[in-house]
């Protein structure tokens, strides 16, 4: 345990540089490829290097101790550690410098693992040359570094949570119960998200809505939570601790404060349109409540379908109908943000061979959930769409849109489909023991707590047939039945079945508007190849993004089931409250500064800044940069025609020596161009 000492500032940035170079073996990662003692000998020959040491693991307490002792002994006033990527250990070594009494920004890390020995491991002379280049460049830069001071900003004790599914609800309740103000925003008129659609949950066979609805009403009752349903975040400004958020509240066309939710209007509305809550399997009126337990329980008019006949206006006992309702804009300031925007089910029409949308009795699994649900379109009595017959045989087709490498679907496993198909089949079989249920799968993935037991029990005791083989195609037979063709890979023979209905176990996809979400919240850099948002570190920072103060939870980062989603939501709430309870946050001072005597006032940097950090001083006629808003991207520095902007830690006088030393000197005489 090291005791925290305040920055002693013993070393002045103007002292002549005395550089210490520390080369790490990283076990055999580096030491197994290049000769580390020889690299030390090389480092000692470089200008201003006063000492060079090596150690098996520089990141260990002993390794850090070496640096601290040398600083304390006054031997060195700048540090180069030649080891792994700075993304791994920059903070570790900076802290060691600080403990030793050196400004932590007088440190530079040369990455000779990821950038050298890992990629050049079979070429020892080549790797040695590259390692020398990296060390030489780091030494060149560290000599020109300047001491910087960390800035701290206040953190507002409030959180914006985007998405009010089970992730958003849980995070909101945790934060609200710890005393923070929470703004819970959702695009749809009700909270609950996808979990409200589901019939039961695996492996406990709990009724999904029975465990969701109490949480939903708790959210509505909690005084610390401001519920903003039917709303959308349209812009975000500011920085960690002080995010300025603009929210558009869509017009409900019904005064939400007066509506009592009596439902007279719905009974009398003459317009019927598709019900998105039941995935189009049941009509709803143009004036509607998403589902009986919806929170909040006030009605909404769907103006895309409303014909403005005026009947609801005449009928409404509290005169709450407002045809001239307008969108409302709300500006709030929050300290932290949690993105819990969830997923979209895979659109199975893209897999032409399964005929979804073409063959009537091929439905997707979310539709099956609604059919099984007691408040679904058929009140829990499963009926097939073509003739409302109760199906006597059902096939579940697994991996629709998942584990798909042809470009029509997603490459990843969606993690929930094996279990929900097993659950749906079991649920159906419980009510209809004389029916036939088949599940066609590639691999059955039952990895969670109690999942394997659930699958085993279902297969053994419920007579559900699991057939190993991906379904090739589905065809429509004359009587509305569906012909399923597949290969049974266990028996190694093709199978053809004619069944009453087919359920496609569709995978989970990033939301169709994920790019807008990423853009608005400035997390565009944090997207993985699969289209989901990227966590700051897949293992150690699973709910952080690379933008400070913005956290993620649930399916917005990748497919996961309810327990994992809730765990992430609670983790995100805890991470957000850590920031808020401390009350202030440190910001790395990589911001840029305008040299006002050089600035010509051309304003070209202002339009380029992606963070709106630059303003124009009308009195002095020069640009000014807000050092907290500035993220240090360097765009303005590169653009400035008068070279009037300098960026901390990445100044020309720091970068150019690196380039100069990286390029071999003494070019051949004939290669020198004479101007």
């Amino acid at each position: 345990m090291v005791t925290k000492t305040k920055n002693l500032n013993k070393i002045n940035g103007r002292d002549p540089p005395k550089i210490g170079v520390y080369i790490c073996w990283c076990g055999i990662n580096i030491g197994g490829v290049v000769d580390v003692p020889k690299l030390c000998d090389y480092a000692r020959t470089l200008p201003n290097v006063v000492l060079a040491s090596e150690y098996k693991f520089m990141c260990s307490d002993i390794g850090q101790g070496m640096i601290m002792e040398d600083i304390k002994a006054g031997k060195i006033n700048r540090v180069v550690v030649s080891a792994c990527s700075p993304r791994m250990h920059e903070e570790t070594f900076r802290r060691a410098c600080e403990e030793g009494g050196l400004n932590k920004f007088l440190f530079e890390q040369a990455n000779i693992r990821e950038h050298c020995t890992w990629v050049t491991m079979h070429d020892v002379p080549g790797a040695t040359r590259i390692a020398k280049d990296h060390i030489r460049m780091a030494v060149a830069k560290v000599g020109a570094l300047k001491p910087l001071e960390v800035t701290t900003v206040k953190v507002e004790p409030s959180t914006l949570i985007v998405g009010a599914g089970i992730a958003g609800i849980n995070a909101a309740l945790d934060l609200a119960n710890s005393g923070y103000k929470v703004y819970l925003v959702d695009k749809s008129p009700t909270v609950g998200g996808h979990m409200a659609h589901l019939d039961k949950t695996f492996p406990t066979m709990d009724c999904s809505s029975c465990i969701t609805t109490p949480k939903m009403s708790e959210v509505a009752r909690n005084p610390n939570i401001e519920l903003m349903t039917y709303s959308e975040v349209i812009s975000l400004d500011g920085y960690v601790g002080n995010f300025k958020v603009r929210i558009e509240k869509y017009p409900h066309y019904i005064d939400q404060n007066i509506c009592t939710g009596c439902g007279h209007c719905t009974d009398i509305c003459p317009v019927e349109c598709a019900n998105e809550f039941d995935l189009g399997m049941k009509p709803r009126k143009a004036i509607y409540l998403s589902f009986p337990q919806a929170v909040p329980g006030e009605y909404t008019i769907d103006m895309k379908h409303c014909i403005r006949c005026g009947i609801c206006q005449e009928t409404c006992p509290t005169a709450a109908v407002r045809y001239d309702d307008k969108p409302e804009y709300v500006d709030i300031t929050v300290g932290t943000i949690i993105l819990a925007t969830g997923y979209d089910p895979y659109d199975a029409t893209r897999m032409g061979q399964y005929g979804y949308g073409r063959i009537k009795n091929v439905i997707n699994a979310l539709q099956m959930e609604r059919l099984l649900s007691s408040y679904g379109p058929t009140e829990g009595k499963v009926k097939r769409p073509s003739d409302l017959k109760e199906p006597e045989s059902i096939v579940w087709v697994q991996c629709v849109g998942s584990r798909e490498f042809t470009g029509k679907g997603r490459k990843y496993c969606s993690r929930v489909c094996c279990m929900y198909a097993t659950k749906q089949a079991r649920s159906y079989k419980e009510k209809h023991p004389n029916t036939q249920c088949f599940i066609f799968y590639i691999d059955l993935r039952a990895f969670g707590k109690g999942y394997e037991e659930f699958y085993n029990d279902t297969a053994k005791n419920y007579g559900i047939k699991f057939i190993r083989g991906r379904v090739a195609e589905l065809l429509e037979a004359g009587n509305g039945n569906v012909i399923v063709r597949a290969e049974d890979t266990t028996l190694q023979r093709p199978v053809e079945l004619e069944v009453d209905m087919v359920v496609l176990s569709v995978g989970l996809e990033p939301r169709s508007d994920i790019d807008d979400i990423a853009r608005i919240f400035n997390v565009t850099a944090s997207k993985t190849e699969d289209g989901f948002l990227m966590e700051a570190h897949p293992k150690l920072r699973p709910v952080d993004t690379l933008t400070a103060g913005i956290f993620v939870a649930g399916n917005v980062v990748g497919p996961k089931d309810i327990p994992d989603t809730v765990a992430q939501a609670k983790a995100a709430a805890s991470s957000a409250s850590t920031l808020m309870s401390r009350g202030e946050v440190e910001i790395i001072p990589y911001y840029s500064t305008v040299l006002s005597h050089k600035c010509a006032g051309c304003k070209s940097c202002i339009s380029l800044c992606p963070f709106n950090a630059i303003t124009f001083n009308e009195i002095e006629k020069v640009a000014e940069i807000n050092d907290i808003l500035c993220k240090g991207c360097g765009t303005c520095v590169a653009d400035c025609p008068s070279k009037a902007i300098i960026q901390n830690h990445f100044d020309d006088i720091q970068i150019l020596p690196m380039i100069a030393t990286a390029i071999p000197k003494k070019p051949q005489a004939e290669e020198v161009e004479v101007e």
């Binding site: 032409g352 061979q353 005929g355 073409r358 065809l475």
Partner: protein, 317 residues
């Protein structure tokens, strides 16, 4: 674009000149009506067949295919062809050579020996593609409107054939290979109805060298297709490929013999190449379209009699 500008190099392939010259005759007659010029390709050889040649040696397949394409390049015309096999071969040879520099270098090394060079300047077009995308359903509808007193009223079993739609990435059907409708749309202009029969997109059985190597297996496929087609009660089978055409036409006679015990009744479903049907819809005579052999001309009539069709449209005409 006016159709007057349309001019193509006509690639015949092997099956049409040797087995079904009437497919060429019908196509030329119909294209004439739309004022589309078809120029002969002197010295054109076998495409070569995708199943047989590509299956054994890809480089040979590429070189022979490229040689055929260079003939059209000399003419400065895109290739029009009437066979799915030729379409598959030449389209894929052309695509490979346009994007694979290594293969292109290899092919040109070989072609240099006979003084030729593949340049990649022409496109490969199936006549279905030309009719659907260049001429367009609207123009064909106008031509058929006044061609006959009454529209044709047949129930058609349309057979797309494998190479027409797959692989879909490089074909002009908006990446639709699972449930395409363009051929049905084109045929229904005639007033006929395209039937939805079981396994409509199944192979005819002939392709991939299967007919050459395992005739009985290939005909077993054909039997299954024919059974599905007769269950749907089709008046005629429509093809876009002479090899599929052969497999349904001559194949019916063969199936009736080989699978005598397996089938309930001998098949007798007339098989038409699609330009013949369009020709009929435009009011051309069966003789002009090669459906009936005119006494003064050489050539082979269909193996499966088309008389039922001619009588039927005779009644409705």
């Amino acid at each position: 674009m006016s159709n007057d500008d349309l001019k193509f190099a006509l690639f015949l392939g092997c099956v049409i000149p040797n087995r079904y010259p009437y497919i060429e005759r019908a196509t030329r007659a119909v294209f004439d009506k739309f004022k589309i010029q078809l120029v002969d390709m002197k010295g054109a050889s076998c495409c070569p067949a995708p199943g047989v040649f590509r299956g054994f040696d890809i480089d040979t397949w590429l070189v022979i295919g490229a040689r055929n394409i260079t003939i059209a390049e000399e003419l400065g015309l895109d290739i029009a062809l009437m066979c799915n096999g030729c379409y598959g071969s030449l389209l894929e040879v052309n695509h490979t050579l346009k994007y694979d520099k290594e293969k292109r270098r290899m092919v040109n090394e070989h072609l240099a020996k006979i003084g030729r060079e593949y340049k990649g300047t022409v496109e490969i077009r199936h006549v279905v593609d030309i009719m659907y995308n260049d001429i367009g359903p609207e123009k064909i509808r106008n031509k058929t409107k006044y061609g006959r007193k009454k529209p044709l009223n047949l129930k058609l079993a349309i057979h797309y054939g494998c190479h027409l739609t797959k692989p879909s990435e490089i074909r002009p059907w908006a990446k639709e290979s699972e449930n395409p409708t363009f051929f049905d749309e084109l045929m229904e202009i005639s007033g006929c109805k395209s039937l939805n029969y079981k396994d409509k997109f199944m192979c005819c059985g002939a392709g991939g060298g299967v007919r050459g190597a395992f005739k009985e297996i290939s005909l077993d496929y054909t039997r299954e297709k024919l059974e599905n087609i007769s269950t749907a009660n089709a008046d005629a089978i429509i093809t876009s490929c002479p090899f599929c055409h052969l497999q349904f036409d001559l194949g019916q006679v063969e199936v009736n013999n080989i699978f005598k015990d397996k089938i309930s009744a001998p098949f007798n479903i007339p098989v038409l190449y699609f330009t013949q049907l369009i020709g009929l819809a435009m009011g051309m005579t069966p003789e002009e379209l090669g459906l009936i052999r005119s006494p003064d001309l050489k050539g082979v009539p269909p193996f499966t009699p088309v008389k039922p069709i001619i009588t039927k449209i005779g009644e409705t005409a």
